[in-house]
Symmetry: C2
């Protein structure tokens, strides 16, 4: 399928790529935070811009034609390294490290800084939705029914402060190709945003046995 | 209010800051895209990482204590330059340029690249939610009732391809402090994701006259 790449790299090559691209992406996340918050003199800002443009030019000398897609290792596990929530190589992603339990649960402890702001010092309501879509989808996938999001409903109980946060989700029920998942985001004081979602098994997966598998969205 | 800064800069200073920080953030957006897609030799990647870290260090020599918050110009308009969807200074934001009509409409034409991927070559379902939260909220604000998101419901009709997209929303109805807004994202072939949201006028705004004003989330 378009965008699913079976490069089937082995464990050594996987470790090499993780150690190479992970720290680069993390460095760019830090840079993005600094760009929002810097108060250095104008000349320093302009120099930074020129240097960033030069680095980008060098990195683009050889590059993939489009986005990262999903790539499969030799062991069958997938790398969603371009994913906007969990992508190891994606500086837009916080990124979340998501834990999964095959009973149909997923959870993550993570930190959101200045780049995820909506109202002052609060997480953007849409960023909460972004994260919950991923966590609910991972719970559905952990339970054996990966899916594309069909519907997603968010209830905002109060503002979510930027900083250290937790998200979790579990499967509520499965009806044929539809998996219903529920979850929430919380800070140290309790739940801030609740979510429920319906995840629909894609057509290409319906003939396969319903074994636990990774979710790629 | 905490995080709302009345620095009340004039038009010249506003123009200077836009011309300074806008291109820097755009350069970092390009860099983030290159980090996801690069295939240059390992040594070039490592050099890029060191250089990025050095730039970040210099930018951090003087910086705001936390996130950008909302800042007000001399003319009363707000700058949400740290916002995760529309922030001029935020490399995480695409950013969207949102048009508004005081009848209670908001819309935007925008481009999403490799950093916003979920399934291969498709927009992450949560990114669609992120953008629709902003656009629906802006429609509510354009119509005179700014608000924090109360609830948000997304219906995914089909996958949204990465690339050139459109989003729009309008106020469906207002009931006291609650503004109901509806909208969608579309590509050249039509609607991909529909949304409806309830936006609740914050307590601090309830005593003020309900004139059209900007929405800050």
């Amino acid at each position: 399928m378009h965008g699913y790449v079976h490069d089937e790299i082995g464990p050594d090559e996987l470790a090499r790529q993780e150690a190479l691209y992970g720290p680069l992406a993390q460095a760019v996340r830090e840079l993005a935070d600094a760009v929002i918050r810097t108060e250095v003199p104008e000349e320093t800002v302009r120099e930074a811009q020129s240097e960033v443009e030069a680095i980008t030019k060098r990195l683009r000398e050889q590059q993939m034609e489009s986005s990262y897609g999903i790539r499969f290792n030799a062991d069958g596990h997938a790398r969603a390294w371009g994913n906007a929530v969990v992508g190891l190589r994606n500086p837009v992603a916080p990124p979340l490290e998501v834990k999964r339990d095959p009973v149909g649960k997923a959870w993550s402890d993570f930190h959101l800084g200045a780049g995820y702001e909506g109202p002052p010092h609060l997480v953007h309501g849409g960023v909460a939705a972004l994260i919950l879509d991923q966590i609910l989808g991972e719970a559905a996938g952990a339970g054996g029914k990966p899916g594309m999001t069909g519907t997603l409903t968010l209830r905002y109980r109060r503002g979510t402060p930027l900083g250290d946060l937790h998200a979790e989700a579990h499967i509520d029920r499965v009806e044929g190709i539809k998996t219903y998942a529920v979850g929430h985001i919380s800070d140290a004081e309790g739940v801030t945003v609740e979510a429920e979602g319906v995840f629909i098994l894609p057509k290409w997966a319906r003939e396969e046995p319903a074994t636990p598998r990774e979710r790629f969205e």
